[in-house]
Symmetry: C2
């Protein structure tokens, strides 16, 4: 168990990043159940991820466990949160005030994790001006101007397919660097921007594939 150079250089595999979030979720549950510490085997059992995988994932970022004891959960949670950049609140812009947009704006899960939807945007003049929950709805054309004040770096796209690229471009022009895209289409962005696609229909289709075989 040697010390590693505090390497900020080696690229972290994307699957690792995706699992980190699962570990964090698991650690929170364990802590809520008043556990003080847990072994990689215990976290593995709960998340369905292989224990060696967990240890290797964490080892990219440092040494957080104690042989014979496992991981101190309070410390691990703090480390994971810091690694994921969750140690500060993030303002979020929502584009699209339709059904999905409304549901997302009232979804409490984001807020609990420090993601605050601070403004919504829509092309529909009927929706502009009103509030959605306690989130003001602006005209899409106002996005850049509004965010000049807000300075949000995260955006959510909840518009129809045809409007997705334009919404993306508006967000990027306004300084947003990370986008959660619910439209069932690939949007083009410069490589500096991170986009994650959450295509509900695609998820259904994938389920359908596995249903296929009786």
């Amino acid at each position: 168990m040697e010390t590693k150079p505090p390497d900020g250089l080696t690229r972290i595999p994307e699957p690792t990043i995706e699992r980190l979030s699962a570990y964090l979720q698991c650690v929170r549950v364990l802590r809520a159940e008043s556990h003080q510490s847990a072994s990689s085997a215990e976290i593995a059992r709960r998340t369905g991820i292989h224990a060696a995988q967990l240890r290797k994932d964490l080892s990219y970022f440092g040494e957080f466990g104690k042989p014979g004891l496992g991981y101190n959960l309070a410390a691990l949670e703090a480390h994971l949160a810091r690694i994921m950049g969750l140690d500060k609140e993030r303002d979020v812009l929502l584009v699209g005030a339709g059904n999905l947009g409304r549901a997302l704006s009232s979804y409490t899960g984001f807020g609990r994790r420090g993601f605050r939807i601070v403004a919504a945007f829509d092309v529909d003049a009927h929706k502009v001006g009103a509030k959605m929950g306690d989130c003001p709805v602006y005209a899409l054309s106002e996005l850049k101007r509004v965010n000049a004040k807000l300075g949000a770096e995260v955006g959510i796209i909840a518009v129809p397919t045809a409007a997705a690229q334009a919404a993306t471009d508006s967000l990027v022009a306004a300084g947003v660097r990370a986008i959660l895209n619910f439209a069932p289409t690939t949007v083009e962005v410069s490589e500096k921007i991170t986009v994650r696609n959450v295509d509900l229909t695609s998820q259904m289709e994938i389920l359908s594939y596995y249903l296929r075989v009786e």
Copy 2:
């Protein structure tokens, strides 16, 4: 270009299945733009997936292209739909009639792809009896009884974390074989059942990671 044994045996990589849905989406767009055929390079450009990847993915299922010409889009769409089991309508049960459940029930994207939410379930007696859009809301306890008639094989979980496992168990007991889980937790199911997790908060956390580096 030799013929392959019509192998129903080789396991298809999961990433391949996930991409199949993206190809299908792309093919639909191309057809909507009145294209008759397209090369793997064209589809690759549009989806951001490597052309060789596309060809290999398709080659698991047969030979759908013509050298020098590419793929006939009408035929490819039909093949992809059949491969994914999308050649018939699927009834879907929705558990949870909260904000998210309501948004999902009114989401038109599912319907357009042949997924029909036929019934919703909730523990809250206030919600039971009313309709959500044109989808009836039943008591969760009625799920098995209701589905005895409906025979749906797909379920959506849109309940709080604490209720997710119980919702899953109800769905499985009622004969559901594929589940889309929006609760931010891993649910345990027998290996016969397919679960896909769509954890919105997790997606945000992953974005946060990539935002971290300035």
